[in-house]
Symmetry: C2
Subunit: 318 residues, 2 copies
């Protein structure tokens, strides 16, 4: 079982006003964790504002309670809440730098750390921040509702590739089973997560796959601003695009470069097994996990690809 | 918990020689179930021949024990074994029609049935035949080895889309957790199942996606013999190709037509939620489950597609 620092539990139990903040470009783990924790705190009779600077991507809008998420801080700050960062560990990652909080709590499982936080609970071994939030609210004796269970199941599903990645342990599967007992519907959640692409997203996906280049064990695809315009898809639609080329046996790293401005690319890396792409991401000033990491680079497409291939050769063994 | 007929357990306990047969065009559930049961019977000191008429598809060759599978019956028949059909319920489905057995046992979860079998255990509610085999060998007190656990985990993974389909219950997830405790490695198994496509298979997949047509809520793709020849891929490589177009929100049924001879097509249907494609398959003389079914049709491509669209309109409500 997961070890939860007692101080974290006391802080959640003893304080009355909280701001639960997800990271920018929130994924399912960030949103599900934040919403579940917010609902749990409310059910304990506390005030909890759930915050995400960026909007909730369309494929997460089915999550019950996500409609409570606010993207403006000012009102919430008046109550002088305790800050809880979920699925991230610095104010910059949540897009709330510059604000002051009387107390701050960090609940995260990312390997790239920061010094921030009065109380920290960082568990690198947790498959998802959702697993940590589940353990915490269970320990607090909160009655876990179907809405909380759905958010937590989705959080864990997103960060484990729905029990496909190497971080899927027996405990993760047992947590999944418990959340199903509490009302989460695996088929429905998977359908909403993976099978509700609009036709624009699907067209962009096809167009992206057609850019595929394979260099040794690296599969590279890219999405330009022009491709987004031509298909009418959104930047957030590219989430998980890089998973598909991983299907090829010889591919150990799948890379997606997405143009985020004139000559600037957001690079996301997904790897198999022991190939640690966090090392590559850190080399370029980014971060993440062993099998999923990212960074930004200012360069033309060709140079960006070359820099990446060079870093792979230099930093990782075959 | 699953209810296992006592007579099935006694038959497995009391007899000494078995032939465990999977269905033709075996999928992971058929192979994993047959191998795990064969290994379990052997560990009980019995003789067990594992049989599959068709070869094991490449992406299942990582399963430990699959190398024991035989594709020739004659030798095995000399021992006068008890037949056990797994993941199917008629000799025709296993490609062993015409042979006589002194006793036959059926362990299956398919809805399309037959009269065959001296002892039958058919559980439509089981997510996978692998779940049934797991329950049976646990009840028999067999020490479940890592090899058995890996086969059973893979069997359940294949038939639940690795815990994504609506048949994923809390019990299925708990079984998954138990199998991980027994040595199954979820990350490794998922990688072998989903991420070991050779480049020919990937090229065929891309080519197939480019044939996509969407008619109302049906997505249709096809694979011709010529496409197989041009890419060098194999027919079995098309397994799960129809899953991808299901990602589109408006798509309720994804259809893949594969040319299996001059003017003859094997049609596989995958649906979402309550859309029962077994009804369509049965109309054309095929069968399957609510969300995954198939049939064969002799027609040119255009007529085959039209017949299908017509059947969908006639047989299923919007």
């Amino acid at each position: 079982m997961m070890k939860i620092p007692k101080k974290i539990l006391s802080a959640l139990r003893d304080d009355e006003k909280f701001l639960v903040a997800a990271h920018i470009n929130p994924d399912g783990d960030a949103i599900g964790s934040a919403v579940a924790l917010g609902l749990a705190l409310e059910s304990m009779g506390k005030e909890a504002v759930i915050y995400s600077k960026d909007p909730v991507p369309l494929h997460y809008t089915f999550l019950p309670g996500q409609e409570k998420i606010r993207s403006v801080l000012e009102d919430a700050l008046e109550a002088d809440p305790v800050l809880i960062l979920v699925d991230c560990n610095s104010p910059e990652r949540a897009g709330i730098e510059g604000h002051r909080f009387r107390r701050s709590i960090v609940i995260d499982h990312h390997e790239t750390g920061s010094d921030f936080g009065d109380l920290k609970w960082i568990d690198h071994k947790a498959a998802a921040c959702g697993s940590m939030v589940y353990a915490a609210i269970k320990s607090l004796g909160v009655k876990i509702t179907k809405a909380m269970a759905t958010n937590l199941y989705a959080a864990i599903a997103v960060d484990t590739g729905t029990f496909r990645y190497a971080n899927t342990t027996a405990e993760v599967l047992r947590t999944g089973a418990e959340l199903v007992d509490l009302g989460a519907q695996p088929g429905l959640i998977a359908e909403r997560l993976y099978e509700t692409w609009n036709i624009r997203r699907f067209r962009l996906f096809m167009m992206t796959l057609n850019t595929l280049e394979i260099k040794n064990d690296i599969a590279i695809t890219h999405v330009t601003g022009d491709m987004l315009r031509r298909t009418g898809a959104k930047a957030e639609d590219t989430e998980n695009f890089s998973n598909l080329p991983r299907r090829i046996d010889s591919v150990k790293i799948s890379v997606l470069l997405r143009e985020i401005g004139k000559g600037t690319w957001k690079v996301s890396l997904r790897s198999k097994g022991d190939v640690d792409v966090a090392k590559i991401a850190e080399h370029f000033g980014g971060g993440g996990h062993k099998n999923a990491a990212g960074f930004r680079i200012k360069a033309d497409l060709k140079s960006a690809k070359e820099a990446l291939l060079h870093a792979r050769r230099k930093l990782l063994r075959r």
